[in-house]
């Protein structure tokens, strides 16, 4: 019986290992520090006009001329098709309010990068949004067609299309999903 109890303890230990390690004070502190830093940087940049406000648009329909989001918002049908295409990895761009098109990319310096569209962008929340307990991150596909404010490194890009490595994102409402926007 003792062996069995030892085994149980091991299994529980492993089950809770993730919690314990992830809940380690250092990790929690580091996380809180990261969030605080993110908010300070983002809100300062927003005040100084260094953030970019725009809409996420789906690349295929934009470049083949099916939709013209520069001139009018997506219709409901266009939006659904755009999101479905984005879900299948067609490239998503950020169309800024001033008409500049940004190609979201991951930061320069990484030889192999993951798909930017699968990347969780840390979300900056207002105090009110925090109280509501909204999602603390977002990915691009569900955000197609929505207005966002982003902060990140901007690269010169090519032929007028600039690159952007989004560091932080802010937007109104809930990221989730399941509810049709």
């Amino acid at each position: 019986m003792r062996q069995v109890l030892i085994l149980c303890c091991i299994v529980f230990a492993v089950l809770l290992a993730g919690t314990t390690r992830a809940e380690d004070k250092n990790y929690k502190e580091k996380h809180a520090e990261k969030v605080k830093n993110m908010e300070e940087v983002f809100f300062a940049a927003s005040r100084d006009g260094k953030t970019i406000k725009g809409v996420f648009v789906e690349g295929n329909s934009l470049f083949n001329g099916t939709t013209v989001p520069q001139e009018r918002p997506y219709t409901a049908e266009e939006l659904e098709n755009a999101k479905r295409s984005a879900e299948r990895n067609s490239k998503i761009f950020l169309l800024a309010g001033d008409g500049t098109l940004y190609y979201p990319t991951l930061p320069r310096g990484q030889a192999v990068t993951q798909s930017a569209q699968a990347y969780r962008m840390p979300r900056v929340l207002t105090p009110e949004q925090k109280r509501e307990g909204l999602f603390t991150w977002a990915t691009m596909v569900p955000m197609v067609g929505r207005t966002v404010e982003v902060y990140g490194d901007v690269y010169p890009g090519y032929a007028g299309v600039k690159g952007i490595a989004i560091k932080y994102i802010a937007f109104e409402g809930e990221y989730i999903v399941g509810k049709k926007d």
């Binding site: 069995v4 149980c8 993730g18 992830a22 993951q114 699968a118 596909v141 809930e174 990221y175 399941g178």
Partner: protein, 290 residues
Amino acid sequence: MATKKPISFKAIFYTTISLVWIFGLSAIGHIVMVLIEKYNPGIKYDFAWTSALVGFFAIYSTRFMKSDGWQSFIGCLGGLGLWFAFEYSLMYGGHRLGVTYTWNGSYPEYRMMKWTFMLLIMVFVYLLFQESVRCNFIFFLRRKLRLMRGAIATGKISNYGPRTAFEYIMVTWTFYVMLMIGYDEELFGAHSWFIYVLFFASFSVFFYLCYKLLGYDRFGANLRYAIPTVTILWNDIEILAKWGMLKEPWVHINWTIMSVIIAGFVISTYLIVKDLRRRKDGMIESKDIT
């Protein structure tokens, strides 16, 4: 069947404890993954490998256990360990393949899991014809589809551990695939008739299974039957969350609610272990075999 007996307080007690334990296990499993992702994602694949190894050895250890209660208890934990590893393997695969989140918010690993449906069907077909399987649902299908060529399987099962682990994995896998297929807007959709039917069917079947569960008045069979019972209820929780009507405390890290769930899990674990230790000489009863 054991359900023909009058329902005793003892059976209610055992059923409640089993349900609380399996529910707590699922909730803790979820929050562990959420906390790792939030605070320390760097350890997730180490955790996955550790879970796989511990899961395997937990299942292996059941071969040395005499009581079906212990076999089921440890087998369930072994199944959870392997399941963790499976989910993380899909997460890794999704990362390598650049799988995105869906536009209605489903995670890459679950998008990938959805397309294992044919594999699931193949395993299920095997189980349907595998005569030593004692699952009540498969018995039902065998009867209705006239698949049995002889009498149903009876006799002693020496080790319930691997069976319980497999049951945990299969039940969890099946319902994940069903939900993901239901959420797929190109097939059905989160607000489709399929999801509504699944929601109401799960809700009603949960109570039916609880009633059946009351027929098993000892840990072992009770724990094993609590796995599908809780997982079916879990469908409703997932659907309510998908509809935006419920904020899952294990996803949104609501420690007040999670504390209650963890306390329930700890107390039920204590009661199960205490009971199993008391019955250390207990052997498998014939009613547990059918």
